[in-house]
Amino acid sequence: MTIISRKKKEKIDRLAELAARDDERGVSLWQEAFRRLRRNPAAIVGAVVLGLFVIVSVVGPFLVPYAPEAQLWKGEIRVGFIPGVRAENWFGLDHIGRDQFSRMVVGARQTLLVGVVATMIGLAVGSLIGGIAGAAAGLGGRWGRAVDNVLMRFIDMLLAMPSLLLAISIAAILGASLTTVMIAVGTVSVPVFARLLRGAMIAQSNSDYVLAATSLGVRKPKIALAHVVPNSLAPVIVQATLTLATAIIEAAALSFLGLGNNDASIPEWGMMLADAQRYIDIAPRLAILPALGIIITALGFTLLGEAMREALDPKLRK
């Protein structure tokens, strides 16, 4: 009896909720995508991992117990022995007597910075080139197609080179530094963003609502900015999230190869990994910890990116 009445009550409540929703404002596609994202467990896991990562990298450096570059326990390092986990050093010491925990926390900031800035560079330059090419090819007629051809051949050249090789070449030309890593990793993702945005824009340019806007008498630049670009952004946003993951890995790879940050006082996970390889048989945690950090962060970005792809896919819309 009580169960039945409760069920009935719930049903009525739900109906009331639906009825109340009727005079709300309309739900845009972005809002709907966000609703779907919130219901996806993968997205929540990814968001939690990333949230922790961001908090650690923003707040962490102010709270670490020791300065990451101070060789406070230099005297305890002997050949064949590095002190491990203990009360005052949660992750043990590194090979020259610095606190590994403090270095991990401060290193998170560098890793996040490199990942975000590199992706931003790729996103900005790639979207600019792709957007111009896409608008020119989709709406620009004969001359537009010529512009598109020139831009895309340039992009194809970038795309033809293996990404890590391209990044290494750029880093080698500009000299080893943190900025170099960002530019190198960013350049690698430029062609991906450019191709994606251009392709989506050309597809959207052939849609009926663009024709409808033309027949309304809307000017072409306005059509490109108000209709074509907003409808082409979804794959680019997803790609940006996924690129964050690969950017972090690539930045770590460049640091590992010695082309990254040459300032030893600022820890960075890739560089820590490179340093640790010589001591892998006596202190494997020195390699495992930064590697785990890189993997978990990249996984978080990938989970969120995949969930966003699902949420934004128009074919999965109910």
């Binding site: 024709l211 409808a212 027949s215």
Partner: protein, 367 residues
């Protein structure tokens, strides 16, 4: 009919799409003649219905008329203004006088725009209604005209039903106060129950606002209901044009006769006895249309003389315009239809015989 009564005059309009080959150095290997020499005129305040099977070029004709697809040759004059040679800026300002309604209301509405934004866009583009309040007033009036509630303004297209979406599409066309509306299959994407509502809405709007329509459709009943004049297209050309009732009761062109005989009659006795003309074969490729009369390859009345080598022009026969050399003889019964055998086209690389599918010899052989 005097000159000033004609709103749109199309003369010898051609739209040819080049077929391109080659990756870097494209060369044109041929043309798809989607519209190949069409003459028609639409009187002000009337509805011109355009019918024909899929791929005959009727949609392309509608788009070329509005200069949404650039015509290859020919003239389109709208209220005395020649559109094909008009400068792009002038053409843009002319657009507010001629609007379009699309077939699929979902794909013709930007999914990221709410209804208010969809309706405001055209007003902004032409600077109609100086401030926000004035625009709101125009939009509200338009919503009333098409029978949409006010709360629709903040909603997005995906939150509406098909019929309501088409009303949004109609409102978008109406908000600029056009004189001509080209409706490209306005109801064929809708449920039958909704079709009547939308057709009646279009009718009502024409009565109240004095609109001129070019309605493109393949549904003969819809066209008959809504049109004053009907043009029948076949393979890029107009084969017959007549006042609506006359076309349906007295079709003159063999193709029109075949079309009309395909419409079922709701009386079973009549339906059983009536003569039906079945056309053999498919629509020929518009890239390589037949010589002479485009229809001679499928025409049950085709004659050995003239049909294959002389393209008939539209000529007036008792109120209709027909493009057939032998229309009078066919109408009087002097010429009788003969059988046209279907030309069998096999896909390339297929064997001569259809493969025989045999059952597995042993019951367990699939395991």
């Amino acid at each position: 009919m005097t000159g000033s009564d004609v709103l749109v005059e199309v003369r010898d309009l051609k739209v040819h799409f080049p077929i391109k080959r080659g990756v870097l150095f494209e060369r044109t290997v041929g043309h798809v003649k989607a519209v190949d020499g069409v003459d028609l005129s639409i009187p002000r305040g009337k509805t011109y219905g355009l019918v024909g099977e899929s791929g005959c070029g009727k949609s392309t004709l509608g788009r070329a008329l509005l200069q949404l697809t650039p015509p290859t040759a020919g003239e389109v004059s709208f209220d005395g203004v020649e559109l094909t040679t008009l400068a792009p800026g002038k053409l843009r300002t002319m657009r507010k006088r001629m609007q379009m309604i699309f077939q699929d209301p979902m794909s013709s509405l930007d999914p990221r725009q709410n209804v208010e934004s969809i309706l405001t866009e055209g007003l902004q583009a032409h600077g109609i209604g100086g401030n926000r309040d004035e625009r709101r007033k125009i939009i509200a009036e338009t919503l009333d005209k098409v029978g949409l509630p006010r709360w629709a303004l903040s909603r997005y297209p995906h939150e509406f039903s098909g019929g309501q979406r088409q009303r949004i599409g109609i409102a978008r066309a109406l908000v600029l106060g056009p004189e001509l509306i080209v409706a490209d299959e306005p109801v064929s994407a809708l449920d039958v129950s909704i079709q009547a509502q939308v057709v009646n809405l279009l009718d009502e709007l024409q009565d109240n606002l004095g609109l001129t329509y070019l309605v493109i459709a393949h549904d003969l009943a819809v066209v008959r209901h809504i049109s004053d004049i009907v043009g029948v297209m076949y393979l890029g050309g107009l084969v017959e044009e007549a006042p609506s009732d006359r076309l349906y009761t007295e079709p003159l062109h063999p193709y029109t006769r075949a079309l009309m005989s395909a419409v079922p009659v709701p009386d079973p006795d009549v339906e059983d006895r009536r003569e039906r003309i079945l056309l053999a074969g498919d629509l020929p490729s518009p890239a390589n249309p037949p010589s002479g009369c485009r229809f001679h390859t499928r025409c049950p009345w085709a004659q050995p003389t003239r049909c294959a080598d002389e393209r008939p022009v539209l000529r007036e026969i008792g109120g209709s315009r027909v493009a057939c050399h032998f229309a009078e003889q066919i109408a009087s019964g002097e010429l009788r239809p003969h059988k046209v055998s279907a030309e069998i086209v096999r896909p390339e690389g297929e064997g001569e015989e259809p493969g025989v599918v045999s059952a597995p010899s042993e019951p367990g052989s699939f395991v």
